[in-house]
C-alpha cells in the first residue's frame, strides 16, 4: 500500500511539472479564493468590530485552522470528490477490479494534485497564529497537527458520504456543492452566533465545529464555548474525525454492495 501511495505522488508531481502553467494558475486560484474569503471577513469585522467576543484577529486564526485542514484534505483525498464522475462515465468499474480496497483505489488515482494550497495555508496559519497572539508552546506545537488532521478526516468523511450517494443517484454534483458551501459558511464564524439547533447540528451531525471552532476556542483561551462544552473538547477533533470517517466508510461499503448489485 505504501508503495502504491508513493507511486501515486510521484505521478502527481510529474503531472504537475508536465503542465507547469496550469499548476501556476491553480496556485493563483488558491491565493484569490482564500484572499477574497479573508477580505470578506475583514470587511464584516470592520463593520462589527467583534462577533460574540471574537475580533478580526481571532477569526483570521479560525479561518487559518479550517484552511489548513481543507488544503490538506484536497491534497491527500481530492479524488474522492470525483467519484460521482467516475460512476457516471464507467471508470468506477475499473477501480472495482483492482486488488485494492476501493476507497484506497480512488484516493490513489493520480491527477493534477499539488500541495500549493497546503503550502499557502501553512504560511497563512503561521502568520495568523502570531497575529492572533496564540501562545506557541510545546503543547500547541504538539496539538496543532492532530487538530488539523482531525479536520481533514471530518471533511473526508463528508465527501465519502456524498460520493456514496452517487451509487444511488449517479448525478449528485449539486449535493457536493451544497455540502461544500455549508462547510465554508459554518466554519467561517464562531458557531456561538447561530441558534442552538444549528450548533447541535454542527457539533453532532456534521461535526464541522471540530474542524476549527472548538480547537480555536481552546487555543485562543476563549471563555465561552458553544453548548456549554469545555474548550478542551477542541483537542478531541482527531477522535471525532476518525469516528465520523468510520461511519462514512461503513456507509460507503453498504453503497458499494448496492452498486455491485445494480450497476449503471
Amino acid at each position: 500500500m505504501l508503495a502504491v501511495y508513493g507511486q501515486h505522488w510521484r505521478i502527481n508531481v510529474l503531472t504537475a511539472l508536465e503542465y507547469r502553467e496550469n499548476f501556476l494558475l491553480w496556485a493563483a486560484f488558491a491565493v484569490v479564493y482564500h484572499g477574497s474569503a479573508i477580505a470578506t471577513l475583514w470587511v464584516v469585522l470592520h463593520t462589527f468590530p467583534s462577533m460574540n467576543g471574537w475580533d478580526f484577529r481571532d477569526m483570521a486564526f479560525l479561518y487559518g485552522l479550517w484552511m489548513t485542514a481543507h488544503a490538506l484534505h484536497d491534497t491527500l483525498f481530492f479524488g474522492v470528490g470525483n467519484v460521482p464522475e467516475y460512476v457516471r462515465d464507467g471508470e468506477f468499474d475499473r477501480l472495482l477490479i483492482r486488488p485494492l480496497d476501493t476507497l484506497f483505489a480512488v484516493i490513489v488515482i493520480p491527477g493534477q494534485i499539488f500541495p500549493d494550497e497546503l503550502i499557502l495555508a501553512l504560511v497563512y496559519l503561521g502568520i495568523t497564529t502570531w497575529y492572533a497572539g496564540v501562545r506557541v508552546d510545546a503543547a500547541f506545537v504538539f496539538c496543532v497537527p492532530f487538530v488539523i488532521l482531525g479536520g481533514t478526516l471530518i471533511e473526508l468523511a463528508i465527501n465519502v458520504i456524498v460520493a456514496t450517494i452517487a451509487f444511488w443517484f449517479v448525478r449528485v454534483d449539486a449535493l457536493r456543492w451544497i455540502v461544500l458551501q455549508l462547510e465554508q459558511e459554518f466554519t467561517r464564524y464562531p458557531i456561538g452566533i447561530y441558534t442552538r439547533g444549528v450548533r447541535l447540528f454542527l457539533t453532532f451531525v456534521f461535526p464541522f465545529a471540530f474542524m476549527n471552532y472548538f480547537p480555536a476556542t481552546y487555543f485562543l483561551h476563549k471563555p465561552e464555548s458553544a453548548l456549554g462544552l469545555p474548550p478542551a473538547v477542541g483537542l478531541l477533533s482527531p477522535v471525532i474525525g476518525l469516528t465520523f470517517l468510520g461511519v462514512a466508510y461503513a456507509f460507503w461499503r453498504f453503497g458499494l454492495d448496492r452498486y455491485k448489485g445494480v450497476g449503471h
Binding site: 505521478i11 503531472t15 508536465e18 503542465y19 477490479i97 483492482r98 490513489v108 455491485k260 450497476g263
Partner: protein, 335 residues
C-alpha cells in the same frame, strides 16, 4: 482444470421507466415507475485453464453484463460464478490479482504521462517483484514494439500504440485469466495483427486463459476454435467455430466477370446475388449443386473473362444465426 464456471447465471436490472419529452421527465420527478429487465439468464458454461474462447453477440445481448459478473464488478441476481476457484464479487481484491482486463474503449493508462509511468504505478498496485516486472516489460516490448514510444505521453500516442500499451498494462502482473472487451475496435490491420499475435503468444507461452468479446470475427478466427454465442441474454451456441461454419456455411457465391454485356444472367441451380456492371454474383448451396457443374453451365451459356468462388465468412454466418435463430435452422445437413 476448470478455471471459469457459471451455473444458471442470471442478472436482472431494475430501472426507472423514462417517459418521453420534457413533461414526462417532470412527471417522473414526482412519481416513478420501475421496470425489470432480464439482461442475462440461464448462462451456463465452463472454461478450462489455457483455453481461448470468443464470447460473441449483437449489441445489448448481455456480453458486457456477463463479463462484469465474471470480473466481480456486478453481483449476479441468481446463479453461481467461480473464477479461479473463488466467487469474484465476494473476494474482489483476490480476484483482481488473478485477472487482467482490457476494455477496448477505455484505457487504463495515464493520459498525461509517458507510458512507462503508468507501468510503474501498476507494478506497485499489483505488487509485481522488480525483476519479474523488468523481465515482462522486456518481453512485451519485443512483441509489441513498445520501446519506440515508451517515453511519449499517452495522449500523443496513436490508437494502435495506446492499445499495445493497454495490453502490456493488463498483462504485467501475470494474470491467470484475461478478459478482452472489444480489444481491436478501431485499429488498423497492422495494429490488429500485433495485438492478436500478442494474445496468441501469451496463451501459448504462459497458458493464460482468454475470454474475448468482439465484433470482429477475424479476431476469433485467428485466435480460437471455440465460441459462445449469446443473444437476448441466453447462450444460443457453445462449440467449435468450424462446426458452425460446416452447418451454416452451406452457401457459396460464384463471382463471374462477363466478357460481353448480357442483359439477364440465369444459371440453373443458383440464385442471382447482385450485379455490378459485368460482374455477376451467383449464390448456390454446395450440397445441392457442385461448383464444377455450375461453372460448366456458366461457360456453356456465356463468354467470361474471370471466375472465382467466395467462401462464406463467419460474419455472415453469425449474422444469419442472430436474425433467424439457431434452432430455426436445419441442425445437421448431410455433408
Amino acid at each position: 482444470m476448470t478455471i471459469i464456471e457459471t451455473v444458471d447465471l442470471k442478472k436482472v436490472f431494475r430501472s426507472v421507466v423514462r417517459r418521453p419529452g420534457l413533461s414526462g421527465a417532470f412527471a417522473a420527478l414526482f412519481s416513478r415507475e420501475f421496470e425489470e429487465k432480464v439482461a442475462v439468464e440461464n448462462v451456463n458454461f465452463s472454461l478450462q485453464e489455457g483455453e481461448i474462447v470468443g464470447y460473441l453477440g449483437p449489441n445489448g445481448a448481455g456480453k458486457s453484463t456477463t463479463i462484469k459478473m465474471l470480473t466481480g464488478i456486478l453481483v449476479p441476481t441468481s446463479g453461481v460464478v467461480r473464477v479461479a476457484g473463488i466467487v469474484p464479487s465476494e473476494h474482489r481484491q483476490q480476484n483482481g490479482q488473478n485477472i487482467g482486463v482490457v476494455f477496448g474503449q477505455r484505457s487504463q493508462l495515464y493520459w498525461d504521462l509517458p507510458l512507462r509511468e503508468s507501468f510503474e504505478l501498476l507494478r506497485a498496485i499489483y505488487d509485481v517483484p522488480r525483476d519479474r516486472f523488468a523481465q515482462n516489460l522486456r518481453h512485451f516490448s519485443d512483441i509489441l514494439d513498445l520501446d519506440r514510444f515508451m517515453g511519449t505521453p499517452v495522449r500523443q500516442l496513436s490508437l494502435g500504440e495506446r492499445m499495445r500499451g493497454d495490453f502490456a498494462a493488463a498483462m504485467l502482473h501475470d494474470p491467470k485469466i484475461v478478459f478482452l472487451d472489444e480489444p481491436t475496435i478501431g485499429l488498423d490491420v497492422v495494429a490488429k495483427e500485433a495485438i492478436r499475435e500478442f494474445i496468441a503468444t501469451m496463451n501459448r507461452e504462459r497458458g493464460t486463459t482468454v475470454v474475448l468479446t468482439t465484433h470482429d470475427l477475424a479476431d476469433v478466427e485467428r485466435l480460437t476454435r471455440r465460441i459462445i454465442l449469446i443473444d437476448e441474454g441466453t447462450v444460443i451456441y457453445d462449440g467449435l467455430l468450424a462446426r458452425l461454419r460446416e452447418e451454416y456455411g452451406t452457401h457459396r457465391i460464384l463471382v463471374v466477370t462477363l466478357a460481353e454485356n448480357y442483359p439477364d444472367v440465369e444459371v440453373e441451380g443458383a440464385q442471382p446475388n447482385g450485379r455490378d456492371g459485368n460482374i455477376v454474383r451467383l449464390r448456390f448451396n454446395r450440397h445441392e449443386v457442385a461448383a464444377e457443374t455450375l461453372i460448366r453451365r456458366v461457360l456453356d451459356a456465356y463468354r467470361i473473362t474471370d471466375i472465382s468462388i467466395e467462401e462464406p465468412d463467419i460474419d455472415s454466418i453469425v449474422r444469419r444465426i442472430y436474425t433467424e435463430g439457431y434452432n430455426a435452422l436445419p441442425a445437421a445437413l448431410p455433408i
